[in-house]
Point group: C2
Chain length 343, copies 2
DNA sequence: GAAGCGCTCGAAAGCGCTTTCAATACAGTA
DNA sequence: TACTGTATTGAAAGCGCTTTCGAGCGCTTC
């Protein structure tokens, strides 16, 4: 294990018989530089021969231009975020950038701490996916972190929140609204919503959209019919049991995360309640498991692939000073977990 | 958006009235340094007041000690890798390290390219998860990359391959072997294996383990009964159709990735073949979807959480020169997709 | 009281690169 | 041929930090 030092730019320069500056210009292909042919070729050849690899730290330090993008998610193990991460990683690599992923496990304190840690890495941009605590007070630590980061020249891209940097609207509200219409079209009038922590923007947006959709159909969503739990499968199962025992059972339950809906379906089935025969269940996200369960889950498909790609585009957009905002729409995927209500 | 420069260490030093060196020592808490009390306190106070944040690039450059760990996976969108990534990210952050994730989408060329890109970032360690093309020839580009990286002082941790750096055995062989025994115990004698590309180590190991398990029970696995497809749900569906039409249908099918098994189950059900009534299906991995489908999937649970944690431990282990190897075992999760063969 | 030890602390030398700045080369024009 | 304008090149100054090296200090030890 000879800890032989890595090849440096100066080694390449000497080997090619040019100055350090020239070698740098050739290899970092700075703008319009083409070299007089001769020198350029020699540098390229030497670099290849010696197996030169730039040191990104040195590059970042000298050029104050980092080549990493930071992605902050709630939980990378969650399919929803994994899908976004996949798209971000793929898009970033197209631009020769690396992605640093941080998983906050839905803890706002953590999130702020991580953001601080991340800033130390001086990433070109921070993409905040699925962050979005609805703390609109002036003292929101996350917003403060973000603003500070922007202040030092960083780019911020947020998904589902719009109080900092570029923002991407992932279609939470619109999607939920469409879903509400679809459920009413199926004949449902009695609803329950099972969702996550009220402090998450995502939760609020989906709920708001669903409620608005119902209102447009002349249906009021009883606040008591909105159940806030965790955004997990287990939570769905627990709530299913509660709903099963309720005196007045809804005909359609909207689990505002696919995993929750999956838990609901499993829960009802365990209790011998037929889905969709006796009760319809819809989810949100169209994560792979949605099509895998039986009955397959009616849900709202979010274009996560494009969202991730777009996030990288915005992250790398040349003029960060002008805030941009891009909206996507969710599309309702009618599958087997919903049907007309029992007669 | 005033692009005000970030606070530097020298700003802190001046504000505290100490030298740059002292400030550095206090803030990077280098070993046994405690300061004479006085100086230390002042530096800490100044840093807090000015909101100092170290520049990791400068740190890495000067100290030649990076604070990122690189994680290479096949596909971060895949639950298996997402689970590993979650554990790695969590464990890394405990050590104040950031994780750079690269997704190679199962392309060996890509993988080698990414490894090169990664090396430019000079991560403290590279964790290669689910890499493992079985190219044992001298010209394996990935092994070459890894060895080169080790040569320059980097640490390598591999999951499921053992030709470089520290290695973690995730239990592919042992797990598959146990599963084979469990299936034979259930009464099965006729098997088929549906698996991924033969060039993946994971595929080979699981197959080898399964075959060995059967042999130990006196059963030979017909090479014709091993079907190599993609490690996807769709592939499972396709193969289910093929198996359904075969003249001699096995009583138990082992899908060596959970997703494949999920596809198999869905495929058989679509064709009206009862699982497990007419045919048993088992998977490997125990990814969340395994418990979500109906019938729930018999599979082998890999301790991915611990694997990820251990990978980080090894990555950060003080003496990289001595190669270490840690083995985990998979445990068979008998669920509803398997039963005794039809009489 | 001199020598020795174990600290803290400051000056300064880099880490490997990008990027001015000034110098030189070359082409094009008169 | 001389003269300007443009492209290419090299020297050198950092980017923000860690880390030797050595000076200085307060002790104990003989």
């Amino acid at each position: 294990m000879s800890r032989r030092a890595a090849v440096r730019l100066i080694d390449v320069a000497e080997h090619a018989g040019v100055s350090l500056a020239t070698a740098s210009r050739v290899l970092s292909s700075a703008g319009a530089y083409r070299g007089r042919g001769e020198a350029r070729e020699r540098v390229l050849a030497s670099a290849a021969e010696l197996g030169y690899e730039p040191n990104l730290h040195a590059r970042a330090l000298a050029g104050s231009q980092s080549s990493t993008i930071a992605l902050v998610v709630h939980d990378i193990r969650d399919a929803y975020f994994a899908l976004i991460a996949g798209a971000v990683v793929a898009a970033a690599e197209q631009h020769g950038m690396l992605v640093t992923i941080v998983s906050t496990y839905r803890d706002p304190q953590q999130e702020a701490r991580y953001l601080a840690l991340l800033r130390a890495q001086r990433p070109r941009a921070i993409i905040l996916a699925g962050s979005g605590f609805t703390n609109r007070s002036a003292a929101d630590p996350i917003r403060e972190e973000l603003q500070r980061y922007e202040g030092t020249g960083g780019v911020v891209v947020t998904l589902g929140r719009q109080d900092a940097g570029h923002s991407i609207i992932v279609g939470n509200q619109e999607g939920a609204r469409s879903l509400a219409h679809a459920m009413v079209d199926l004949g449902h009038r009695e609803f329950a919503v099972v969702t996550g922590p009220a402090k998450l923007m995502t939760v609020r947006d989906r709920l708001k959209g669903f409620r608005r959709g119902l209102e447009e159909c002349g249906i009021d969503l009883d606040p008591a019919a909105v159940i806030h739990g965790a955004a997990t499968r287990e939570s769905g199962g627990t709530v299913a049991a509660q709903l099963a025992e309720a005196k007045h059972r809804p005909t359609c339950v909207f689990g505002s995360f696919d995993v929750v809906a999956v838990g609901l379906v499993a829960g009802f089935q365990r209790l011998g309640i037929a889905v969709p025969g006796e009760i319809s269940v819809a989810g949100f996200g169209d994560v792979p498991v949605a099509s895998d369960i039986t009955p397959s889950l009616t849900t709202v498909r979010l274009p996560l692939e494009q969202v991730g790609q777009q996030a990288v585009e915005l992250a790398l957009s040349p003029d960060p000073a002008v805030r941009r905002s891009v909206a996507f729409e969710g599309v309702v995927m009618l599958r087997d977990s919903t049907a007309a209500p029992p007669a």
